[in-house]
């Protein structure tokens, strides 16, 4: 099946964005500030090197968590465990570096990516195993695994891997070989200062490649076909020789692995250590990212960009405005989700009024 973008799929998020922007402007006016702040914030998230760099930095993990949610959604599973899975992936890299701090780059980078994949994957696989063998609902299991995972990782940050030389709740720095180049490193080579001082790094390309691979996997391989068949009609899939349990385990493992890659962006790409609370709920925002892209892997690149921009723009609003804080991004995201989710209702309303107009 060729999953093509319909006009509706593009218009809906844009309408949602416009509506939520107007609501925020209304807030700004009520607070006695100028809504032009919003325009300024928007311009600076896309149209200067510093803003764009941060937008793309936030986009990277959202592509990965969005893919993680969407992939399991295609199999009819709701993976809420992305947040826990990405914590596991991140700590795995720190742990690897603690054991082998002096690995050369050509070993350290692929191994770092690999352990992030594996540990995120294991966290997903546990949910898949319980779903397949015991029939436990994946939503419950992944929520519980989030608690366990996040608390476990926080413990590891604060005790075994704690950097004792600083007061902050963070781990020791990873070895030099694990550090990924920033995009500004490339622009500097070219003699430009684009992206300078921004954290966007080559994990962005990794996540885009992941999206393309997910697309090819889901829509062009027989395994992907099995997974989609299972998601659309598990009974018919079973009657046609598709193993339900094994595919559930596989899908949640792959989902977990995708979430685990977020650790690469955070640890190897930017902070070079793990800080408690490093994820501003990338895992949960991933659910919204997938929803807006209607679970299409390539659409997720765009919807992650949208949410990355909102996230970055909110920081800008906090900076420009005296009263508004960056939590405005939560309101904006929530509005977008509500509007997209109630889209069928609006579509019906619209087509009805059009029909009556024709009469």
């Amino acid at each position: 099946m060729k999953f093509s973008f319909s006009k509706k799929a593009v218009i809906a998020p844009l309408v949602a964005l416009a509506v939520s922007a107007s609501v925020i402007s209304l807030f700004l006016v009520c607070m006695g500030e100028s809504p032009s702040i919003l325009v300024e914030a928007f311009t600076s998230t896309f149209f200067n090197s510093f803003g764009l760099g941060y937008t793309l930095y936030y986009t990277t993990p959202l592509i990965l968590t969005g893919l993680s949610v969407a992939l399991s959604f295609h199999a009819g599973l709701f993976n809420i465990g992305s947040e826990g899975q990405l914590h596991l992936g991140a700590i795995a890299i720190v742990a690897l570096s603690c054991f082998f701090p002096n690995l050369p780059s050509f070993l350290a980078v692929p191994l770092g990516v690999l352990v992030a994949l594996i540990f995120g994957g294991i966290w997903g696989m546990i949910a898949g195993y319980f779903k397949a063998k015991r029939g436990s609902h994946e939503v419950i299991v992944t929520i519980l695994l989030n608690f366990i995972g996040i608390i476990l990782v926080n413990y590891l940050i604060l005790y075994p891997f704690k950097n004792t030389e600083v007061q902050n709740p963070e781990t020791v720095e990873i070895g030099k070989g694990y550090v990924l180049p920033l995009l500004s490193d490339f622009t500097t080579l070219l003699g430009s200062d684009f992206f300078l001082t921004t954290p966007v790094n080559i994990t962005l390309f990794l996540s885009i490649i992941a999206a393309i691979l997910c697309y090819l996997f889901l829509f062009h391989t027989s395994k992907g076909y099995e997974i989609r068949a299972l998601g659309q009609n598990p009974t018919a899939a079973e009657f046609n020789g598709i193993a339900v349990g094994a595919n559930f385990i596989l899908v949640l493992t792959l989902s977990g692995a995708l979430s685990g890659l977020v650790g690469v962006n955070e640890v190897m790409g930017y902070h070079h250590k793990l800080i408690e609370g490093f994820s501003p709920q990338y895992g949960f925002t991933g659910i919204a990212v997938a929803l807006i892209a209607r679970n299409h892997p390539l659409g997720i690149i765009l919807s992650a960009l949208l949410f990355g921009a909102i996230h970055n723009g909110a920081r800008e609003i906090e900076f420009l405005s005296e009263k508004m804080t960056k939590e405005v991004s939560v309101i904006m995201e929530a509005l977008i989700i509500i509007i997209i989710a109630s889209q069928p209702y609006f579509v019906r309303l619209f087509s009805k009024s059009k029909k009556e107009g024709a009469k």
Binding site: M1, L216, T221, S222, A229, Q232, T235, F239
Partner: protein, 504 residues
């Protein structure tokens, strides 16, 4: 029929469209008082729609319904009920946890506060006696057989003093004996002055039990005729719009070589009906029919054969191999095909395209892949061959499965399951809910497969289908095989008797 008095009920020029589909176009016919009036047509002919319009569930776009010569708009089912129109739906509308009498008075409780049980019971006992109903009024509905539940539905209408009773496919779930007693009861009702409208696709019921019949096709009325002027052939011809070609039988090429052996199959943990000690064989080039009323273990047997239910004692052996030892995908590639009973739930994936549905169950095959990738260009000729050979319409393989009618969906399923070499075919309710043209096509195809040496296990609740195709017939009752017949010894009466547990 008394032609002088105005008809009790008159439909004139009724049209109803849903979106672009015209479900009814200029439907015009009349029903006379104290008759049993049949409405026949294939699925999608518009017979349910016109009845739902009569019952106030749909509003017609155009046209008028007249009662006793007076145009009467009917906007809601409540209005219909107050006009004396009652309907027994194909799926019963009963509350399983309430008793029979509680269900009957539901929606027409005699008083707001306290129900005078004694007087209600008195009225109901009288109705029961008058029309020969056998249900126990104090029993809970969930404990009743389907036949008795239907009696409750009828009693409900009588209690509401309905004069026009609409019955939508009332015999679909009944055993032959229950069907007989239903029609016995309907005749009593007719004598008492009630008018009965019977919606069905079973021609025999029309011919044997109705006074008048309205034949519908593609949303329009073909003709309304007195039943005594009709024969089954004429009726079928008018219904489908062309002559039916008789089944071509092939030379018998019967080699007694067992393809499938089931021995002492017993379900360990029954989910519904238990299976106990089921043993039978299916030989190459043979059609074995399993007759029985639904819910007597068919579903469980199908699940065991499909390898979905694995917790059983005994063995199912296909070509000298225990099916539990083989991966169910591989089993399919070895020529073990299944047409599942519930098309939408088990056989197809509705949101997928026709072409994606056509490769389901064979999606790992080398011939449709390029390395890891499914190849559209390699799939295309295979799928279009299926579509051509089985005359699936519309013919565009990229359309969504939803855009096909039930008959065409089923043809695609049969095509998928039989267009590779098949040694054994489990065909469960293969013609349920599809039009006569598609039924004939599928039956003919089964006979062809049989002549090529495929062993077919046919599980169906349509006795006609079983009798028409099977070489041997087994009867399933309460999870056991209670009787066996050969093609020569089988007859409808004895089969029906053993289907309800009676001995022959």
């Amino acid at each position: 029929m008394a032609q002088t008095s105005p008809p009790l009920l008159e439909f004139s020029k009724i049209s109803k469209t849903f979106g672009a589909v015209a479900a009814n176009r200029d439907v015009t016919f009349s029903v006379h008082s104290s008759t049993i009036h049949g409405v026949v047509g294939e699925n999608g002919a518009g017979k349910s729609t016109i009845m739902k319009i009569l019952y106030g569930m749909f509003e017609p776009d155009h046209g008028v319904i007249s009662l006793k010569g007076k145009p009467t708009p009917i906007r809601t089912p409540q209005e219909a009920i107050s006009l004396g129109i009652g309907m027994v739906h194909q799926h019963f509308m009963l509350v399983p946890t309430l008793t029979v009498w509680e269900n009957i008075i539901l929606g027409k409780e005699p008083s707001l506060w306290f129900v005078d049980e004694a007087s209600v019971m008195g009225q109901l006992e009288n109705l029961k006696k008058e029309f020969g109903f056998q249900v126990e009024l104090n029993q809970k509905v969930e404990t009743l057989s389907v036949g008795h539940q239907q009696q409750v539905e009828l009693l409900k209408l009588l209690f509401r003093k309905s004069d026009i009773l609409i019955l939508d496919e009332p015999t679909a779930v009944l055993s032959p004996q229950e069907v007989e007693s239903l029609f016995e009861r309907l005749k009593n009702l007719k004598k008492a002055g009630k008018t009965i409208i019977l919606i069905t696709h079973k021609l025999k019921e029309i011919l044997n039990h109705t006074d008048c019949v309205t034949i519908m096709r593609q949303g329009t009325v073909v003709e309304t005729l007195a039943t005594r002027d009709l024969s089954e052939e004429i009726l079928a011809e008018k219904m489908i719009g062309h002559k039916r070609s008789p089944l071509k039988r092939h030379e018998e090429a019967h080699t007694p070589q067992a393809i499938l052996q089931v021995s002492s199959l017993t379900l360990k943990k029954p989910m519904g009906q238990k299976l106990s000690d089921i043993s039978f064989e299916v030989n190459a080039g043979e059609i074995v029919g399993i007759a029985g009323i639904e819910g007597n273990g068919q579903q469980e047997l199908i699940k065991c054969l499909a390898g979905i239910e694995r917790h059983f004692d005994g063995q199912i052996v296909f070509n000298n191999q225990n099916i539990l030892d083989v991966d169910s995908y591989d089993l399919k590639q070895m020529g073990f095909s299944i047409i599942p009973p519930d098309r939408h739930r088990e056989a197809v994936i509705l949101p997928f395209s026709i072409s994606e549905n056509a490769i389901l169950g064979h999606h790992k095959e080398r011939e449709i892949r390029n390395g890891w990738f499914l190849s559209g260009s390699k799939t295309e000729p295979i799928v279009s061959h299926m579509i051509q050979r089985f005359d699936v319409r519309p013919k565009d393989p990229h359309l969504s499965m939803v855009s096909l009618s039930g008959g065409n969906q089923q043809k695609l399923v049969v095509a998928r399951e039989t267009s590779r070499p098949v040694q054994f075919l489990l065909a469960a309710h293969p013609t349920r809910g599809i039009d006569i043209g598609a039924i004939d096509f599928i039956h003919q195809h089964f006979l062809e497969l049989k002549s090529k040496g495929t062993g077919i296990l046919l599980i169906s609740s349509e006795l006609d289908e079983i009798l028409k195709l099977s070489d041997r017939i087994l009867v399933l009752f309460h999870g056991r095989i209670v009787a066996q017949f050969t093609k020569e010894t089988a007859n409808e009466r004895e089969l029906g008797l053993s289907m309800t547990g009676g001995t022959v």
